[in-house]
Symmetry: C2
């Protein structure tokens, strides 16, 4: 009992056992973070053996011995998301100063659902939402003075990530569209079937490009709208929604008795980093009195760069915007936000209880999808202050420049081709051996259909093997490139957000990929034979 | 540029600037956590002045100077949720060993949506879900061997907290009820209106006691079911759902063309800590082929106590169970879980994408409501190992014993009365001066109606003033106690989960409340006059 109490008591000295464990952990973390590999290869089924016991341990264990187990079984088998050679996903390096601050945040253990368990964290979170709102919408000082700390309104909502942010935005849109009025208590109260019937719509529809994030499908499912009522609109050769196709889709929905609930623009697609023509989309949304949501989970931070901000022109017309601080704002996992242009919009999802979030209170929980939540806003606040807008600008400009360098590097190779060029710091590419790079752009659709499955297999093989080798990591996805007749093509996908990634590393990454391809002898032979068979001219590597 | 890169680079020595800042922060945190006050009183509108600037700072700031600002403006104005005198909410002290581990977890910055950004964290999380599943359902070893790490199935889902857990459970229930079948692609695909119409129900209904958590209303709203279709069922004198009333409600719903989607049992109501008769509820759920969900966000951890586990008998019959590790499992904020009895149940919300959570992958994101998520499961894993089942048992038994002591202490006072007795470690009570304690139980409904508003005002006043004084904190809520004709009564609400709360502290807390009441002279006079006026016998404090 005594020893159990002790673990809840402040450890007295830095040379206490816990102090020493902390030091040991910090050193280990630093070793891990500065190591040059991306992952130690060990098959998942082997790791699963270390996590196979389904019984809660009966007896307590010393922190020191447990820590050793963790370091060996967990940390050593984690992914080095901070490695500069980990350029495959949107999870990147963190600025080091956030780690002690994160410990502080966790230690304070505030719960932001209500003032009584968060006090100053509540105005801080509202402040961060205000800063991001200002970044997007640029309202004047009087606006923020009036709304930022106003109990009855909200400039946005914090949440664990972009998915909840997107769901929240569409929830708000749905409840505002099917709002209470005479004879109807609102969709929130009466439900969706009653709402549709009262308003006389046969369905609600969300329009988004075919590059939209999968969380939108989830949102349509959760909200009762139905995944089939996400109408995906075709994109142009740059993965941007085709405005003409969008206009037609909206007209079709309306003509068939449906109602366009929302049009969703993407500012930085997850797969290719492209940005939809937001301004034109906003106009169509206005025409159809639809909610205009912009999913800027990735791209939102770009607004801090004077150079690249114009790419997002029109975002200020959005009714709501999703931004993830744990993506391009370099904050640890778990910091999503949705911003609302009109501070009264969120009242459509307002809720109260007797013991907290009472009417008129400033409790943040009255306008969020989640209930109890940690004070992640503090880390966003600190990151914004310590790096400043200019710091972010430098980071973002550098990332985009690096992506452009990488695209040029790939262009210069005889056996790699860029599939989507970078607009933000994302690009996709693939390996195309035997001089096919020069020929594929002129190939017939039949030839493309012959070759693509084999190239897909090769890309998959290279990506998996490179990941398993653990020196570097790019991800992969499947696109339908316009230049290849919209044939489903597997590509390498890279996100160049780590400031420590160098040009040399990028050169090494494609060198390794070329090397890996050469090991896949059977597959390479098959590609060669098929190419010849379908009439493409094949070159030996030596001839290149 | 150089200095910007440096912040992403591992600091070299413990005596580096960042090392020193970290030390300073740790000391400050320790000071804060060991201080005896609950909150420094400073009006919120003053604190808001510190967070009033809506512009993102243009220039970077030194970490050292930013840290000082944070300590002064934020930390000093936070709530001491770890204080043993903070007994008002479910946010409590943390075991200290979790802090360095939390820093490690944040530093690793894994993203659990997919294996490629989480590797060993994925089996670890599945392991934790397995352990909790085992705690609830106690299946045999073969069961866990078969399902725990199976890519196509899931024993549950991690999430940021109980609200998302409850929404997820009801989402799964909704999609399983209105499942795909011939001529219908399922509610997830076609939407709720189509689902109701296809299956021929006029509405879906969720049945829960009037003590159900407010997140269930939110779930009904989000899921398109409608808040009006949460039918709240009356409770008995111990805040447990009345089984006869539940049975009648289910029959009424069905008779009127509705369909009982789910029956929700509560294992530890948020306001009073009572546990519904789960076994009986499970039977009714079975009878109506309704999903049986148990919201054990608070009470779930009680299963680790051999003494008190029987209170939750019947939980093993639930189709799904919510447990919050950041409540009675003493893990930092942000660790919710929903468990599913049948590992195939979650397939009703399965979703995929091309670049992650591909079909057949072990990516956890295919079965969760959230997308990108931090590795909070690690902290649950560590807490379970370091404290062990026996450690938790001791903590839980001690808390309940302490709550029973506090109830007896209040019972012994002449001017305090217990409103709800503790079943878990929660209880509610209020201050009743002038010997009214002895008389109210025999008072007429008219007399109760006269007195209650005044007693409510007094309770509110005491609670707010005590909070503002900052030495200790109890919360308040409004109940409808059976013993007082279901009149809406404001009560003090306490959660006695902090192991360091002593009996002396509890004595001091009610002494302070009595003292505060005596300062409210006008109100006290009004209570006295009204009591006399409506025929209740009044005693002077001195006579007690």
């Amino acid at each position: 009992m005594e020893s159990l109490f002790r673990i809840f008591t402040v450890p007295e000295a830095p040379d206490s056992t816990l102090g020493q464990i902390e030091k040991h952990l910090s050193e280990n973390l630093e070793d891990f973070l500065s190591s040059h590999i991306v992952a130690q290869e060990r098959p998942l089924h082997e790791i699963e053996q270390d996590f196979a016991d389904s019984t809660i341990p009966e007896q307590p264990e010393f922190v020191s011995s447990h820590t050793e187990t963790l370091l060996k079984k967990l940390v050593a088998q984690s992914v080095h998301t901070a490695s500069p050679r980990f350029i495959g996903h949107m999870t990147s390096a963190l600025p080091y100063f956030l780690l002690p601050l994160a410990k502080l945040m966790v230690g304070l253990n505030q719960n932001l659902v209500k003032i009584e368990t968060s006090k100053a964290f509540t105005p801080l979170e509202r402040n961060v939402l205000g800063m991001l709102h200002h970044l997007v919408y640029g309202e004047n000082e009087a606006f923020y003075h009036r709304w930022m700390h106003n109990a009855e309104y909200s400039l946005g909502a914090f949440c664990s990530g972009g998915t909840i942010a997107n769901i929240s935005a569409l929830w708000v849109a749905r409840n505002n569209l099917l709002a209470p009025r005479k004879g109807f208590a609102g969709v929130g109260a009466e439900g969706l079937a009653a709402g549709l019937s009262h308003y006389g719509y046969n369905r609600l529809v969300i329009l988004v490009s075919e590059r939209g994030h999968y969380s939108l499908g989830k949102a349509a499912d959760v909200l009762g709208i139905g995944r089939q009522n996400i109408v995906t609109v075709a994109t142009d050769e740059n993965n941007r929604i085709r405005v003409d196709a969008l206009r037609k889709a909206a007209a079709d929905v309306t003509a068939s008795g449906g109602r366009v609930l929302a049009i969703v623009g993407i500012a930085g697609t997850t797969e290719t980093g492209h940005i939809d023509p937001l301004q034109a989309m906003a106009e169509i949304a206005k025409e159809y009195r639809a909610h205009f949501h912009v999913d800027a989970a990735w791209g939102g931070a770009t607004l801090m760069s004077s150079t690249h901000r114009p790419l997002l022109a029109g975002i200020e017309l959005a009714d709501s915007v999703t931004i993830d601080a744990h993506k391009q704002m370099y904050v640890p996992m778990g910091a999503g936000m949705v911003l609302f242009k009109d501070p009264g919009l969120v009242n459509a999802i307002e809720h109260h209880a007797e013991y907290i979030i009472r009417r008129g209170s400033k409790d943040l929980g009255s306008h969020t999808m989640e209930g109890s939540r940690p004070g992640m806003a503090m880390l966003v606040y600190s990151a914004l202050h310590v790096m400043g807008r200019r710091g972010y600008e430098l980071l973002i400009d550098t990332s985009i420049k690096k992506a452009k360098y990488f695209a040029e590097l790939i262009d210069r190779q005889d056996d790699f081709e860029v599939i989507t060029h970078p607009e933000l710091c994302l690009l996709t590419y693939r390996y195309v051996p035997f001089g096919l790079k020069a020929q594929l752009p002129h190939a017939s659709h039949e030839q493309i259909k012959e070759m693509t499955p084999l190239l897909n297999t090769l890309t998959r093989y290279i990506q998996k093997t490179q990941r398993e080798n653990g020196r570097s990591f790019v991800s992969r996805t499947k696109l339908t490139p316009a230049q290849y007749g919209h044939e489903g093509s597997v590509v390498f996908r890279t996100v160049l957000a780590n400031p420590l990634t160098t040009e040399t590393m990028l050169q090494e990454i494609i060198a390794e990929q070329r090397e890996l391809a050469s090991h896949a002898k059977n597959l390479m032979q098959q590609i060669k034979t098929t190419a010849e068979h379908c009439g493409l001219l094949v070159q030996e590597p030596s001839a290149l």
